[in-house]
Subunit: 109 residues, 2 copies
Amino acid sequence: MAKQPASRQRGVRGSRTGRPIMALLDLLGRRWALRILWELREAPLTSRALRTACDEVSPTVLQTRLDELREAGFIELSDGGGYGLTLLGRELCETFMPLHRFAERWQGK
Amino acid sequence: MAKQPASRQRGVRGSRTGRPIMALLDLLGRRWALRILWELREAPLTSRALRTACDEVSPTVLQTRLDELREAGFIELSDGGGYGLTLLGRELCETFMPLHRFAERWQGK
DNA sequence: CTCTTTGCTACAATTATCGTAGCAATACGC
DNA sequence: GCGTATTGCTACGATAATTGTAGCAAAGAG
């Protein structure tokens, strides 16, 4: 399996502005992108398990996001089967960890 | 001006699951939501200035996101004119600050 | 009053996402 | 071998979100 994701670096809004943060915000601002990273935070998941974890996303979007996140270098399809965070993806995920406690405090405790 | 945003708490995916983080990830995963918060990180901006800062977003989405973020309690329409982060929104924005350095390192520096 | 800015909306067109179904490839038990 | 289950992934039409352009009423400055 393990098809190569498209190699062209396009579609990420802000990538031409020279402001990497804009490209990153655009990429993470696409539906289910944050959620996918979040669900992978602890352990790798198969695409089916990931779909289940993400409240039964349609496989169309899931696959699109997986390709994009893979091209960005945040996740990878490990040889043992299943998607997992790369070293870079793990660093990114660390950034969102404080979000958990914030969310608790936010939505009526 | 300052119309009341819709008062019903709907549309935020995951809000019924009892997992606030899911609702937050869904809200922030909508297009331009992260970007809007980012652009307001330093100082309040008028809706027009915000539109300019966000690469000329269509006012339709901008207004929708502003309403949602306002309902969530992250931003507010200050009396002096212009949108600004609330105390809660400022805390949320702090969480994303490390993202800046990460983005630099990510996209070929 | 005129002129400008602000926050916001209408409308049609485009794009993204959804939901269901299904495929080829691989791996298992038998 | 055979059946069967799982994995990663795609096709397809239907629905929802986003876009782009134009414009509005209200408030302020001159």
